[in-house]
Symmetry: C2
Subunit: 467 residues, 2 copies
């Protein structure tokens, strides 16, 4: 950030944010103070007036806003604290965009950092959590264009320094009473645990934790680079499966165990951004499951309704339930094709053959048995089918009359009922006559053209993997 670019600074009227505001102003940085009235406490509007007055005195432009935090907590179904945080960041980044500011600054300081890292340590965290807050970070949630960083200019300044500055300048900042309430976890750390640790266990603990945050951040950057490279190596990009992730199994298994675990975690976050709470154990179990699979195809359900299918050469992570063999679903990428009869047609590893058979009724039971045993093969009543015969994928909202169901259903429901992973639905081939699907290969023929004792001429369709 250049020294002539404007920074929007969140100001509550508390000591920390006043220190930040004056600190930036003293440094010659153009600042806009932004204060949001959360309307949670009766004194909040008085606090806004206090900040506005200070800004006038010091010649800093000030933007005030109001939010109905209580209502937001209801619509978002989150805690008041979380709703206040959301409202605040929305407000700050909104102000920054309107005023073409280069950054949003918050008044997080060294002791906030210590509390954050300690909180993560106590509540269970890997290296990420120990990095705490960064002096500069991009929050795509509030800044989708990733142009306005959140900066924390006083992250190395201690609460003691800020308090003594307040005394020196004879400022009486707003005191948020809830900061004293030791019902809140963070306040218990601030007022009870950290002083105890400092007095009885480690006088330098604040400094130690700050250093840990810094080294953990550097280590995390090293690890990110390694994971990025490993991802390049084992991830197979596949446009046909936008909701799923495909990994090269042999490349994956060549990675170090820690890298494998982190790759799995990346898959999880990529498919479910809200999965940040998924614990180490769950990732570890999936890791062990994949490692334990022999060459047989195996599927296991994971977190957040994801499934993981392990094939001989691939690992597929996809949303949806268990599926016997997701990667063997055929996929048609060439568009619609009119079939010649008799004839053959090949597409991406598959071969479709069509021919006509003369039937006598005593042959029908044998054909039915054959079809039951082999879902990649079907015999249909030629007389019921209206040409042309088309190989294609499903149309939006298309209906299908599956054999034995006695009715019609949407293909979109049929995919769900037959547990086709979402990733494979759009590209799944079907054979239709002039009017409707007559066969979904590997799954089900249509009812209307099934073999009957009257059938004298059958259409034989077979879809096989090419050798």
């Amino acid at each position: 950030m250049k020294s002539d670019e404007t920074v929007v600074t969140g100001v509550s009227g508390g000591a920390d944010s006043l220190y930040l505001l004056f600190h930036l102003q003293q440094a010659g940085q153009p600042v806009i103070a932004a204060i949001l009235d959360h309307q949670l406490r009766p004194e909040s509007s008085r606090e806004v007036a206090f900040v506005q007055e200070i800004c006038v005195t010091y010649g800093v432009p000030c933007v005030a806003g109001k939010a109905d935090v209580a209502a937001l907590a209801q619509t978002r179904r989150c805690s008041i604290e979380e709703a206040a945080r959301i409202a605040r960041y929305e407000f700050l980044f909104g102000v920054a965009r309107r005023h073409h500011a280069a950054a949003v600054a918050t008044a997080h300081h060294a002791d906030d950092q210590v509390e954050t890292v300690l909180m993560h340590f106590l509540r269970g965290s890997g290296l990420e959590g120990l990095t705490g807050m960064r002096p500069r970070t991009i929050l795509p949630q509030w800044d989708p264009e990733e142009k306005i960083p959140l900066i924390r200019p006083i992250l190395n300044v201690s609460r003691t320094e800020i308090e003594s500055w307040c005394r020196e300048t004879r400022l009486t900042p707003v005191e948020d009473q809830s900061n004293q309430d030791t019902q809140f976890f963070r306040n218990r750390l601030r007022h009870k645990l950290i002083p105890l640790l400092e007095a009885e266990y480690s006088p330098q603990i604040r400094r130690h934790i700050q250093t840990l945050a810094q080294t953990a951040h550097e280590d995390m950057q090293i690890i990110h680079e390694v994971i990025d490279a490993a991802w390049q190596q084992c991830h197979i990009p596949d446009d046909r499966i936008p909701d799923a992730i495909l990994l090269n199994r042999s490349e994956f298994s060549r990675l170090a165990p820690g890298v494998r675990a982190r790759i799995l975690r990346r898959c999880l976050f990529q498919l479910c951004p809200e999965a940040r709470d998924v614990g180490f154990d769950s990732v570890q179990r999936m890791h062990d499951f994949i490692a334990s699979c022999d060459n047989e195809n195996s599927v296991r359900q994971w977190e957040k309704n994801l499934s993981v299918a392990v094939e001989a050469d691939m690992i597929l992570i996809y949303p949806g339930g268990e599926s016997p063999n997701p990667l063997q679903y055929p996929q048609l990428t060439t568009g619609s094709v009119s079939l010649s009869i008799p004839g053959e047609f090949s597409f991406s590893g598959w071969q479709l053959t069509c021919r006509i058979l003369q039937l006598s009724s005593e042959k029908i039971p044998a054909l039915t048995t054959e079809m039951a045993a082999n879902r990649s093969l079907v015999y249909l009543d030629w007389e019921k089918i209206e040409l042309p015969l088309i190989l294609r994928t499903a149309n939006a909202g298309e209906m299908f009359r599956p054999l034995g169901s006695g009715g019609r259903q949407k293909l979109s429901d049929f995919w769900i009922n037959t547990k086709i992973p979402r990733a494979y639905r759009a590209g799944h081939p079907l054979i239709a006559d002039r009017n409707e699907p007559i066969w979904i290969p590997g799954l089900r023929p249509a009812d209307f053209c099934r073999l009957t004792s009257e059938t004298t001429k059958a259409l034989r369709l077979e879809l096989k993997k090419r050798r």
Copy 2:
């Protein structure tokens, strides 16, 4: 470790080590119990007898030993606890070697692990400290051949499980009273801090810390691989400087900041294995110093009497004090050379020229001034010198009579006095006549052949870097 290989197990008679002993025996592993009488408490010999008795009952071979831990603490100048630890590991690995055991097992359990990680966290630690103890580790200090790992088979078993096992088997283990003494930091964690954290801050904290140890270990392995690769890239192996480390500066500066810091830390440990206590700040300061150096040569003292010299293209880390320009010390690698006069001789980037001048006494002050201004040039009294003239390195124990000192001194002391880094002493060239050194280039001529008012013929020597 195979199930038919012998494991030597340290047994104190306490619950943990008895649990370990029986656990291994139950699993069918051949075990030798090893108990060391530390002779620190009057009851210690009774405890040895207790363990021996139990081993007889359960049919486990037992080896007992004695150590004078108090005396060891005096000779090693360490605490009693540290001396006890040294004596114990020496004993265990000694027993393992004598009995050709495949491993030494200790009874560290899950709660020991939690205490270890928490202790490191409180006292200041990077990622390494958070990995805690490993289930299997090589300790070259006790096992120089790196053939006998230390294993910790019950690192996932909690103290509660061990205690309930003791109750079930109606065993009354030895209770070391010092385990209750909350004067000891670890005991305070065990009996006060961890229960407090569990009750008031994080009920699952033990599990969280165990998980952290595991993920930190995996992350550490990733980082080790990265650092190994970076080391290959920027380290310049140089046999001439066994006590120093030479880095390629441009390769070094291409590394990520976290990698650079860890490379510097590796240099530190490699040169001073006892430097494990050197903090993040010190490494960071050296990192920042190196980054801040422009193309001028700079030297700064570091921890443990190390110096770091930054040259245009190299970084040299070496033991010893500050030195203006260590990498510009000439180094002779070609062996002794007899010099022709007049003549020239070139070696590894340097060129030596010799010639003879006729002098009149009025010229002498000008030559003396010239010599004072340029240490790479010298004029000596030709009449005092006995041929042949030899370019060589110092012989063991060789003496030198430096100009102005009025006496003789060992060259080994001369190097120290003139602050030549140890790394450059063995290869430093000198010019000697038939009897002794007449000039140490860049440093000092000999006194016996200095110019005087009587000198009529001078030997002019000059050692210059080749362009």
